[in-house]
C-alpha cells in the first residue's frame, strides 16, 4: 500500500488461482489485497478431488508436511459401466516409503483456507465475505474493483487479477470473455459420505493413509460426462459430472443421476452404510483451448477457471500454474512500473510455453469429437459390458460361438473403422 492506501494489486477470488497469484506477488515485494466472497476461502468451492503435487510443490516446498490433505493416491481406477454391470481397471503403485506422492485427495474448505493463510504469511491482505460486484475502469484501463455501493466500497490498484472462477463475472465485465454457454461447462454434483477410515481401507484394498481415485464412464445415459469416487481420510467424495447442454437434453435432475450412480451395483458396496454429510454442486469449464479467452488487458489479468483453464479432472493444478505466471507477469510489470496490456502480454507468452496451454490444446482435440459422438458415453460402455456378460457366463454354449457373437455385435453396432476413428478422435480423453 502506498501513502494513499493504494494496493499494487487486487486479486479477486481466494481459490487455487487467486491465492497463488497473490502469494507470488507478495513474495516479490508487492502489496496485495486478496478478496474472497466466501465466509472463509473454500466456503464456496467444490472439486472432486485430487490435488497434484505439481506445481504446488514449487510454490510451497514440502507442502504435504503441513497442508490439510486426506489420502495419498496410490490407486487409479477407471470403470466402464452399463446400467447394472461394470468393468474396472485399477492401476496401483507401491506407495510404501514413496512419499511424497504425486497426488492427494483434499477437502476444499480446509485446503483453500490453509493455502490462503500461506499467502497471508507472505504479507497478502486477505478479506473474506468480500463480494466484488464490478471492476472500475478509467480511460479504458482497469483501475480497481467495487465491492458494494458507494465510494467506501471502491478499492484501487495498479493491477486487478480476476481469479473468480468459472462463472467469472469480472472477466465478462472486462470484455475478455462471454458468459458460459451450456456446451462450454459441465455441472458436477457431489456428496460427501462419511465412513470410518478402516472401512475405506478394507473396501478399496488400501493401506493406512493410502487412497484411491476412481473415474467412471457410462453412468450419464449416453451423454458426455461420468462419475467419480475419491477416498478421503474418513469419507468418500461421490459425484457425477455432465455437460450442461447434455443435461438439458436429458431432462433429468442432476441429483437423480447421482442417486442412480450411488445405487449402481458396482458403486453401492463402496458407500454402503455411510452417512451423507454434504451435498454440493459446481460448474466446470469444458471449453478446451478454443474457449480460452484473451488473458489480459490494460491493468488486468485473468487466471484459472475464470479463463476456462481446466482439463477435467485437472483444474487446481492449471489454476495454480496460471496464477503463478500471472504473478510473475505482475512482478515484471511492477519492475517496469507499467501495467499496460503491452507489458502484461508477457503473461500470454509465458502461458503459451507452459504445460497449461499445451494441456488445453490436447484437450481441445477431443472435445468437439466427443460432444457430437453419442457412442463414447453410451454405446461403447454398454457394448463392452454386454459382450463381457455374455462371454463370462458359463452355460454350455461354446466359447467359439460366444466370441463369434461378440464380433458380429461389434461389427453391427460399431464397425472396426468407425471404432478406430472414434479412438483417434477421443485420444485427448486418455488419462
Amino acid at each position: 500500500m502506498d501513502a494513499e492506501g493504494k494496493f499494487d494489486a487486487i486479486v479477486v477470488g481466494a481459490g487455487p488461482a487467486g491465492t497463488t497469484a497473490a502469494l507470488t506477488m507478495a513474495r516479490g515485494g508487492m502489496k496485495v489485497a486478496l478478496l474472497e466472497r466466501g465466509e472463509y476461502p473454500g466456503a464456496k468451492n467444490v472439486f472432486g478431488g485430487v490435488l497434484y503435487r505439481w506445481p504446488l510443490e514449487e510454490i510451497i516446498p514440502k507442502f504435504w508436511e503441513t497442508a490439510p490433505l486426506e489420502r495419498q493416491i496410490v490407486d487409479h481406477r477407471f470403470m466402464v459401466m452399463s446400467k447394472d454391470s461394470g468393468l474396472l481397471l485399477s492401476f496401483k503403485v507401491d506407495g510404501r516409503g514413496k512419499a511424497p506422492y504425486n497426488g492427494y485427495t483434499a477437502i476444499r474448505a480446509k485446503f483453500d483456507k490453509w493455502y490462503a493463510s500461506k499467502a497471508e504469511e507472505a504479507g497478502v491482505t486477505l478479506a473474506t465475505s468480500a463480494v466484488v460486484d464490478d471492476i472500475i475502469m478509467k480511460d479504458g484501463k482497469v483501475v480497481g474493483v467495487r465491492a458494494g455501493p458507494g465510494i467506501e466500497n471502491e478499492l484501487y490498484a495498479d493491477l486487478v487479477i480476476a481469479a473468480d472462477g468459472v462463472n467469472s463475472g469480472l472477466a465478462v465485465r472486462a470484455g475478455l470473455r462471454e458468459p458460459p454457454s451450456p456446451d462450454q461447462v459441465a455441472l458436477g454434483v457431489k456428496e460427501v459420505v462419511e465412513l470410518p477410515a478402516e472401512a475405506i481401507e478394507a473396501r478399496f484394498n488400501l493401506r493406512k493413509g493410502e487412497g484411491t481415485r476412481m473415474e467412471t464412464m457410462g453412468c450419464t445415459h449416453g451423454k458426455m460426462g461420468g462419475g467419480f469416487v475419491y477416498t478421503n481420510a474418513n469419507s468418500l467424495s461421490v459425484g457425477v459430472v455432465i455437460l450442461l447442454s447434455h443435461l438439458m437434453e436429458l431432462k433429468m435432475k442432476p441429483y437423480e443421476l447421482l442417486d442412480e450412480f450411488k445405487a449402481h451395483p458396482s458403486i453401492e458396496p463402496f458407500i454402503e452404510g455411510g452417512k451423507a454429510k454434504e451435498y454440493s454442486a459446481h460448474l466446470i469449464p469444458e471449453a478446451g483451448y478454443k474457449g480460452v479467452p484473451r488473458l489480459y488487458r490494460d491493468g488486468m489479468m485473468i487466471a484459472g477457471d475464470a479463463a476456462y483453464l481446466c482439463s477435467y479432472p485437472e483444474g487446481t493444478n492449471l489454476a495454480m500454474a496460471s496464477g503463478m505466471l500471472a504473478g510473475k507477469a505482475a512482478l515484471h510489470a511492477k519492475k517496469n512500473n507499467d501495467f499496460s496490456a503491452k507489458t502484461l502480454s508477457v503473461y500470454h507468452e509465458m502461458m503459451n510455453e507452459s504445460y497449461v496451454i499445451k494441456e488445453m490444446k490436447r484437450k481441445d482435440s477431443s472435445h468437439t469429437a466427443m460432444l457430437n459422438n453419442p457412442r463414447i458415453f453410451g454405446l461403447y460402455p454398454d457394448l463392452i459390458n454386454e459382450i463381457l456378460a455374455d462371454v463370462l457366463h458359463v452355460n454350455g454354449e461354446t466359447k467359439t460361438a460366444k466370441h463369434k457373437r461378440a464380433k458380429s455385435k461389434f461389427r453391427d453396432k460399431v464397425g472396426l473403422l468407425r471404432a478406430l476413428r472414434d479412438a483417434y478422435s477421443t485420444r485427448g480423453m486418455a488419462p
Binding site: A43, K251, Y279, S280, A281
Partner: protein
Amino acid sequence: MKIEERLFLDRFNVDDKNHLVVDTSKCLECANKPCTTVCPVDDYNWDNGKLIISYEGCVECGACEVVCPFDKIKVTYPPAGKGVSFRFG
C-alpha cells in the same frame, strides 16, 4: 434421497433478499424450461402456468443462468457472509 434431506446437510446463512434475479416475461414461451430441470436443488418449479422460484437452498452453481435460453436469469452473489458455506466442498 429427497432434495430436502440433502439440503438439510448443508450450511446456509439465508439472506432475506432473493439473490436470483429472474424476469419471467418469457417463461410461457420457453419450451423446455431448462431452469426447472438442471437446478441441482430444485429452486425452479413450473406450477399452474407460473414459474415458482425459491432461493433458500441455492448452492450458487450458476447453472440456471447459463441454461436460460432467453437470458432472463441473473445469479447475483448473496452479500457478505450469506448463502451457502461448504464445510467440505
